[in-house]
């Protein structure tokens, strides 16, 4: 049912970088993952910041308003976001070379 991919430049949340603000465009997850996302307010239009990756590189921590949540990269693949520029309170540089390796 993923018709009409939005026109703006969208990337997957799993490919997002730390310290950048994003706006959610689309949630394509199914079943319980989808429900959890909607319940937590991860819906189109919402703004989020990627805070960090877990020490081993997988789950991701994001911030929506004053609320912190985590999700696995494979789950973040179901969320399309668009970049909104750097987040003023964070330092994207510091995290740039974060650990992406396999473990």
């Amino acid at each position: 049912m993923m018709t009409n991919r939005p026109q703006v430049e969208s990337i997957l949340l799993s490919d997002a970088s730390i310290g950048i603000r994003y706006r959610v465009l689309q949630v394509t997850a199914k079943g319980i993952i989808r429900q959890r996302m909607l319940d937590m307010g991860l819906v189109p239009g919402v703004r989020l910041v990627v805070i960090r990756f877990a020490p081993l590189g997988d789950p991701i921590e994001i911030r929506i308003n004053r609320f912190f949540m985590s999700l696995r990269k494979e789950e973040a693949k179901y969320v399309f976001v668009e970049a909104m520029g750097p987040c003023p309170h964070r330092h994207p540089r510091r995290f740039k070379r974060h650990f992406h390796g396999r473990f």
Partner: protein, 703 residues
């Protein structure tokens, strides 16, 4: 039930909203823990009196929504729909309204008497956030009561409100949450169709209509058997088409977005926040605790700390309990004349009670630690840090704690599994926990190693055994998860709650209640099993042997203690346990075990601690602790035994049923006799197969 002086109240709210704390403020000590019928979801009930009314509180499980995807959410929703509480108190974390209010809007859809409690108001004040409660009440149509479970601010006000609503002194407006005009139109159409057909057991039709638009499987199922099915489906098709065409979304996303947008708008009108995006206190702590280099070492250190605390610190009270029971036994031994009843009491019942209580220190300490992790907020981080590895075997990061706890004792480890939300994860984790070699198995390994191996090799053999257990556990987890619970993976979409100062009182209370639950349920079974086992080992006796030893004992200068040992050993093959041991020889032969080792293993069912001492009895060296060397000696010199037998025996001890207590707890925690039986069969099968392989291979190499 529905008498006018009793108020039936359900507490609903997100996890970490402070539900437990508020429940405790309200109900105090008057609470009772149980399960919601048919599911292993904890149900806490309490009662209190206020202004002549009796308030009956039921704490619903903490949930983010009322969707039917997890047992907790289903329980909460069915409870509100079908038990029809007089009112629902929705506890929200006022420092995080944006997310907490999603559940509130869903409760509004249910058209219940709703009372919104804004908890953590102390933190709100500290953050210099301003909330306009009056405007909030106007928008949500529910009374809002600011409360702090920590300072107790607002609790009396909350109780007054509950009574006032019941007595009709104040009226809740029961606002409906209004969706966009388009959505409302469809909702109306659906209501008109379904309300003609059925009373739907009192389930509000507006809620049903909303859920139908969201394609909720449960409500769709309700409709499927009704004649209005066609008409409903027709409307649903046009909603989906409409929303997909104009908004490029599926209907459930659309409604979720509407809710979030409503909340966002409402909060703009009511809340003035300090800086929105500044790094929070929690974030700063996490910069260290979840640091990309130090996060892992810190995590391991914390896990190590808990482990040491539980099993090292727990060692002392365990010894006290042990000594206490020894003293009791000695004392009773002195005053009761010899008889079968005495033997049952001392060796059966008292030993059994001791066997139950001996786990208590471990359980108490471990659960206190777990409560601490949970209440501070670090528990979610544990899962966050280790999830990548756990996910490899199909499990969730939260399975990690029960697993490592298994190295200490299987019983508390199985009980720790209740922190997992997904049933598949729970059962899978419980199935593999016993393969993490528990502390009680160590003396067995030590004995066997000292009997058959060079001291230099001891460390390696021991390490190999532990490692082998872990490997079997991981493979089993993967296997069970990808067959029995295929595709049932628990998502990691979850909150990382803010760090908070925990309340010692609540932690102690929770720990105590869990410990009591263990004693009540597991205790009776362990006790029963110990008595049965005692009978099996002691009876029947062979009178000829008995007479022979009676004569020997009467001789001058007879060593009574030694004669007792020898009699016990000689009587063993005639006892039920001995006969079973002999009977089992055909299937234990391929593993290298004769009937004597079989008896030791049967004894090990009561507890692994007993294996070594029962071998002391079997090999007639007595079962005191000083006799390990002579026991090792007898094993080494026995022509039937060899290195291969030793290896095979250790593998079997590692893998077979840890103890009856663990089976009892397994059955309790899984709420399924079937799975408990499978657990028994599985561990026995795995143990047999690997012991067989080890013995046969080792024999080939002439060990």
């Amino acid at each position: 039930m529905a008498d006018s002086k009793t108020i039936f109240v359900a507490l609903a709210g997100n996890p970490n909203s402070g539900k437990t704390s508020i429940f405790n403020c309200m109900a105090g000590a008057n609470q009772k823990v149980g399960n919601f019928s048919g599911v292993t979801v904890e149900k806490v009930e309490g009662t209190l009196k206020h202004k002549g009314y009796t308030i009956r509180l039921v704490d619903l499980p903490g949930t983010y929504s009322l969707s039917p995807y997890s047992p907790e959410e289903k329980v909460a929703r069915d409870f509100i729909l079908f038990q029809k509480p007089d009112m629902v108190i929705n506890i929200v974390d006022a420092t995080n309204l944006e997310r907490n209010l999603v559940l509130t809007t869903q409760l509004m859809d249910l058209e219940v008497e709703l009372l919104v409690v804004m908890n953590m108001i102390d933190e709100v004040e500290k953050q210099k956030t301003h909330i306009d409660f009056e405007q909030f009440e106007r928008l949500f149509g529910a009374h809002v009561i600011p409360v702090s479970a920590v300072t107790k601010f607002g609790i009396p006000d909350l109780l007054d409100h509950i009574v006032d609503i019941k007595s009709g002194k104040i009226e809740t407006k029961k606002y409906k949450h209004h969706y966009t005009e388009k959505t409302e139109n469809y909702i109306l159409q659906l209501i008109n169709i379904i309300k003609q057909r059925d009373s739907w057991k009192g389930v509000p039709t507006r809620w049903m209509a909303i859920k139908l638009i969201e394609q909720d499987p449960d409500v769709l199922a309700m409709i499927q058997s009704s004649p209005c099915r066609e008409a409903v489906n027709e409307v649903l098709n046009s909603v989906s088409e409409d929303i997909l065409k104009f908004d490029q979304m599926e209907t459930d996303v659309y409604l979720a977005e509407e809710r979030v947008a409503f909340i966002h708008g409402a909060l703009k009108e009511t809340v003035r926040n300090a800086e929105e995006e500044a790094e929070t206190f929690t974030e700063k702590i996490d910069n260290i605790l979840l640091h990309r280099f130090f996060g892992m070492p810190i995590f391991l250190l914390i896990m190590y700390g808990i482990f040491q605390l539980t099993f090292q610190l727990g060692e002392y009270p365990m010894q006290w309990i042990n000594s206490l029971f020894q003293l009791l036994t000695q004392f009773l031994d002195g005053i009761i004349p010899a008889s079968i009843a005495k033997s049952i009491l001392l060796d059966g019942i008292i030993a059994g009670v001791g066997g139950v209580l001996i786990f208590l220190p471990n359980i108490l300490i471990l659960f206190l630690c777990l409560s601490l992790l949970e209440a501070t907020g670090y528990m979610a981080r544990v899962a966050f840090v280790i999830d990548k590895l756990m996910h490899r075997i199909g499990l969730h990061g939260k399975s990690f704690i029960p697993m490592i706890t298994g190295f200490g004792c299987t019983v508390p480890a199985l009980m720790a599994v209740r922190t997992l939300r997904n049933r598949g994860d729970r059962i899978t984790t419980m199935m593999v926990v016993p393969f993490f070699s528990c502390g009680a198995k160590l003396p067995v390994y030590t004995l066997i190693i000292s009997a058959f191996f060079m001291p230099a090799a001891a460390g390696n053999v021991l390490f190999g055994i532990y490692l082998f257990g872990i490997v079997i556990a991981l493979i089993s987890a993967k296997l069970i998860k990808s067959t029995a619970f295929k595709g049932e993976s628990e998502p990691f979409v979850m909150e990382l709650p803010p760090y908070r100062k925990p309340s010692a009182l609540i932690m102690l209370k929770q720990t105590w209640m869990r410990a009591m639950m263990y004693i009540k349920k597991a205790g009776t079974i362990i006790l029963l099993a110990s008595v049965i086992l005692w009978f099996a080992v002691s009876f029947p006796k062979n009178p000829e042997i008995h007479n022979k030893y009676e004569t020997l004992r009467l001789q001058k200068g007879a060593n009574i203690v030694q004669l007792d040992h020898h009699e016990k050993a000689e009587q063993l093959p005639y006892s039920v346990a001995g006969r079973i041991g002999i009977f089992l020889e055909p299937i234990s032969r391929p593993l290298g075990f004769d009937w004597r080792l079989n008896i030791a293993l049967i004894n090990g069912l009561a507890a692994k601690e007993i294996v070594v001492s029962s071998m002391g009895t079997i090999f007639a060296v007595g079962n005191d602790e000083g006799n390990i060397n002579s026991l090792a000696e007898s094993l080494r010199n026995d022509p039937l035994y060899s290195k291969a037998v030793g290896l095979s025996f250790m593998v079997f001890v590692l893998l077979y049923i840890p103890c009856i207590a663990s089976v009892a707890v397994f059955s309790r925690e899984s709420n399924s006799i079937k799975w408990a039986l499978f657990f028994v069969v599985y561990s026995l099968t795995v143990a047999w197969i690997f012991s067989f392989l080890v013995y046969q291979t080792a024999s080939l190499f002439g060990l």
